[in-house]
C-alpha cells in the first residue's frame, strides 16, 4: 500500500486522513479488497432472493443458474400458507405449510413489548442514576452493572426454571420478562447520555416548581429522543433475532417467534431434499421487517455501533 498523502487542508474532517485523488497501486488494491468483501457480504442475500423465486422442483436441474430457475411466486405462496397442498407438491414443496402470519404476529408482540418495556424502564433508571441525587446512587448503579459480567448463557437454565416455577412457560410474559425489566447495556448507555445533558433547562423547571417526575417526562425524555431511538432499534433487532430463550420457554405455536418457526418449517419436509425455495422465501419474509427498519434508520444504527465500545 503506497498512498500519497497531501498536507492537510482546512476544512478536512477530523479523523480521516487527507487523501489525494491520484490512482495508485495501493488504492486499486484497497478498492479490490473492498469489492471482494462487499461481494461476499451481499451474495448470500442475493442467493436467498434468487432461490425464493425459483421452482423448487426445477432447482436441481440448474443449481448454478444466477437467475431464478423456473421463475414463480410459488415459494412465497407456500411460505405464507396460500398454496394448496397439491400446488405445493407440484412445485417440489412439502405438503406442510408454515403458518407464517401467526409466527410473524408472535415475533412482533415479543419484540415490540420487550423493546417498549426495556427502553421505558432503562430510561427511568438512567434518569434516577444520573439526574437525581440520593444516597447510595453510585453504589447501587455499580452493583447493577455487574450484570455485564455474567454471560447470558449462565443464567439461561436457572431462568428457565424460574419461569417454569412462576407458571409462565408458553406465555408472552415468560418470553418478555427476563429481558424486559433490566438490561445492563441499555441502562448504562442511557445514563451515559443523560449525565452529559445541560442542567439549565432543568434548573429553570425546578424554580418553576416542577417535581422530578414531571422533569423526567417533560424535559429529559424529549431531550433524549435520539439515544432512545438508537437503543430501541438495537433492542428490537435483538429480540426479533432471539432464538435460544424462546426455544427454552415456548413449545406451542401460539407464542413461538419466527426464528423457531423457520426451524419448524425446515423439519416439516419429510422427503430427503428440503424445500429450499420455500425456506428461502420464509427466511426473506422473516428478515424483511429488520431490513426495512435498516433502510429507514440505517445511519443511526451504523453510528450507534461505535459507541458501545468507546467511552
Amino acid at each position: 500500500m503506497a498512498l500519497t498523502l497531501a498536507p492537510t487542508r482546512n476544512g478536512q474532517r477530523p479523523g480521516s486522513p487527507s487523501r489525494s485523488r491520484k490512482v495508485s497501486p495501493g488504492r486499486i488494491a484497497a478498492w479490490t479488497y473492498l469489492a471482494v468483501v462487499m461481494a461476499v457480504t451481499l451474495f448470500p442475500f442475493y442467493w436467498i432472493l434468487r432461490t425464493a423465486l425459483s421452482n423448487n422442483y426445477l432447482l436441481a436441474t440448474d443449481p448454478s443458474s444466477p437467475l431464478p430457475v423456473g421463475f414463480t411466486w410459488g415459494a412465497f405462496e407456500r411460505a405464507l400458507g396460500l398454496a394448496s397442498a397439491a400446488e405445493a407438491q407440484a412445485q417440489g414443496g412439502s405438503g406442510a405449510s408454515l403458518d407464517i402470519a401467526l409466527f410473524l404476529r408472535n415475533s412482533l408482540i415479543y419484540a415490540t413489548s420487550q423493546t417498549l418495556l426495556i427502553v421505558l424502564f432503562s430510561a427511568a433508571g438512567a434518569y434516577a442514576f444520573s439526574r437525581l441525587h440520593w444516597r447510595g446512587r453510585n453504589l447501587v448503579f455499580s452493583i447493577l452493572i455487574t450484570a455485564l459480567m455474567v454471560p447470558t448463557v449462565f443464567t439461561l437454565l436457572p431462568n428457565f426454571v424460574m419461569i417454569k416455577d412462576l407458571g409462565l412457560l408458553n406465555s408472552f410474559a415468560g418470553l418478555v420478562l427476563p429481558g424486559g425489566l433490566f438490561q445492563a447495556f441499555t441502562l448504562f448507555f442511557l445514563r451515559q447520555f443523560m449525565l452529559g445533558l445541560s442542567s439549565e433547562v432543568e434548573e429553570a423547571a425546578i424554580i418553576d416548581g416542577a417535581g422530578p417526575l414531571r422533569i423526567f417526562f417533560r424535559i429529559i425524555l424529549p431531550m433524549s429522543s435520539a439515544p432512545l431511538a438508537t437503543v430501541s432499534l438495537l433492542m428490537f433487532v435483538n429480540a426479533w433475532n432471539d432464538y435460544f430463550w424462546p426455544l427454552l420457554v415456548t413449545s406451542s405455536q401460539d407464542v413461538q417467534p419466527l426464528t423457531l418457526g423457520l426451524g419448524v418449517f425446515k423439519q416439516s419436509s419429510p422427503q430427503a431434499a428440503p424445500d429450499w425455495a420455500g425456506l428461502m422465501a420464509a427466511a426473506l419474509i422473516a428478515a424483511l421487517p429488520i431490513l426495512l427498519l435498516f433502510l429507514a434508520f440505517g445511519k443511526r444504527i451504523v453510528n450507534s455501533i461505535g459507541f458501545s465500545g468507546l467511552k
Partner: protein, 346 residues
C-alpha cells in the same frame, strides 16, 4: 495538545464531544444535530459537565422518586440476574432434574464432568471454533476497517457491511447451509468446476467447525469492523501527517501507529469475539445439530442437550459454571495481556 485544522484554538487530543464533526463514537456527539448544540455550543460544553446545583429541599424529595424509578431495574436485576446466578451455582452441586426437588450431591457432577469424554471433546471443539473465529474474524474486520477508513467516507458502504449482523443467526445458518449443500449448493458447484472435487462441509467431521466458523465470521465481521472503524476515527490525522513527514510508508504507519493506537479497541473486539464464540449455539443447532459424530458438538449445544433431552439439569448447570469460569479467566487474561486500559493516545 494539538492544533486542529478547524479554527485556531487548541483542544486536547482526546476526542471531545464538542468537536464538530468528530467521530460518532461518543453518545453526545452521536446525538447532536448536524449544526451542533442549540446555540452557545462552546459555552454549553463547559457547563454540561457540571452537576446540576440543586436546592437542599429539592434533593430531599429525590429519594422516593428515585426508588420508584429504579424499581423495575432492581427487580429485574435481582430476579433474573443475581438470583439465577447464585441458583445456577447451587444447582451445579445437586442432582436437579426439574421434576423432583434438588438433592445435594456435592462434587459428584464435577467428578462426572472430568471423566466425561464427550465434555472434553465438546470443549475442544468449542476452543477450535473460538480460535478460528477470533483469528479470521479479527483479521478481516481490522483490514476492512482500515481500508474503509483510508479510501472512503461512504456511510452506505458501512451500512452494507453491517447487513449480515442484522439478520438472525437462524437465517444466516439456513442460507449458508443451502449454499454449502453437497450437491446443489452453489459453493460446491463452483468448487467442482474449479478443482474437480466437492466438499461435504457441514456433513464432514473435518469441515463442520470451519464451516460454522465461516458463517459466524460472515455474520459478525461488519459489526466488529465498524467498532474498529469508530476507534480509527478517534486517531488524530496529524499523527499520520507526522509519520508521512518522517517518510514512513503506509505499511509502517499501519504497524507502528494504527495498531498500537488501536490496542484498546482491538483488545475489546477480541474479548467480545471470544465471549460470543464460546457461547455459539443457534448456528450449530440449525445446521448440524452437533454432528456428524459430535464433530461440531459445541459446549453450549452439549449443555442444552443434557438439560432438555436428558433433563440432567444439575450436570448441565455444572458445565455452565465451568464455561462461566472459563470465560472470566480468558477475559481477564486477555485484558492483562493486551494492557487494554492503556492507550498511547493519552
Amino acid at each position: 495538545m494539538v492544533v486542529t485544522s478547524k479554527g485556531n484554538h487548541t483542544t486536547p487530543v482526546k476526542p471531545s464531544p464538542g468537536a464538530a464533526g468528530a467521530a460518532a463514537t461518543t453518545a453526545t456527539s452521536l446525538l447532536t444535530k448536524k449544526d451542533g448544540r442549540p446555540a452557545k455550543g462552546g459555552k454549553l460544553a463547559k457547563i454540561r459537565r457540571s452537576t446540576p446545583t440543586r436546592s437542599f429541599a429539592a434533593r430531599r424529595k429525590d429519594l422516593p422518586v428515585a426508588l420508584l424509578l429504579i424499581f423495575p431495574s432492581v427487580v429485574g436485576f435481582l430476579v433474573f440476574y443475581a438470583y439465577p446466578t447464585f441458583r445456577g451455582i447451587y444447582l451445579s452441586f445437586t442432582d436437579f432434574r426439574v421434576l423432583s426437588p434438588p438433592n445435594w450431591v456435592g462434587l459428584e457432577n464435577l467428578r462426572t464432568m472430568v471423566h466425561d469424554d464427550v465434555f472434553w471433546q465438546s470443549l475442544w471443539v468449542t476452543v477450535y471454533f473460538v480460535l478460528l473465529s477470533v483469528i479470521f474474524g479479527t483479521l478481516v474486520s481490522l483490514v476492512t476497517a482500515v481500508v474503509l477508513h483510508r479510501v472512503t467516507r461512504s456511510s452506505t458502504l458501512r451500512g452494507v457491511i453491517l447487513l449480515p449482523f442484522l439478520i438472525s443467526n437462524v437465517i444466516a445458518a439456513l442460507v449458508w447451509q443451502w449454499m454449502l449443500d453437497p450437491t446443489m449448493g452453489i459453493i460446491n458447484i463452483a468448487l467442482e468446476r474449479l478443482t474437480g472435487h466437492s466438499i461435504l462441509f457441514l456433513g464432514s467431521t473435518d469441515w463442520a467447525i470451519p464451516a460454522v466458523a465461516a458463517i459466524s465470521v460472515w455474520k459478525w465481521m461488519g459489526y466488529y469492523a465498524l467498532l474498529i472503524f469508530a476507534g480509527l476515527q478517534t486517531i488524530p490525522p496529524t499523527i499520520y501527517e507526522a509519520g508521512r513527514v518522517d517518510g514512513a510508508s503506509e505499511w509502517q504507519m499501519f504497524r507502528r501507529l494504527t495498531v498500537p493506537l488501536l490496542r484498546p479497541i482491538l483488545a475489546m473486539v477480541v474479548v467480545l469475539t471470544v465471549i460470543n464464540a464460546f457461547q455459539v449455539f443457534d448456528i450449530v443447532q440449525v445446521t448440524t445439530k452437533g454432528g456428524p459424530a459430535h464433530a461440531s458438538n459445541v459446549l453450549q449445544k452439549y449443555i442444552y442437550d443434557k438439560a432438555f433431552s436428558q433433563f440432567d439439569f444439575g450436570y448441565a448447570a455444572t458445565m455452565s459454571l465451568a464455561l462461566f469460569a472459563l470465560l472470566i479467566t480468558v477475559t481477564f487474561t486477555q485484558l492483562r495481556l493486551a494492557r487494554a486500559n492503556e492507550s498511547d493516545l493519552n
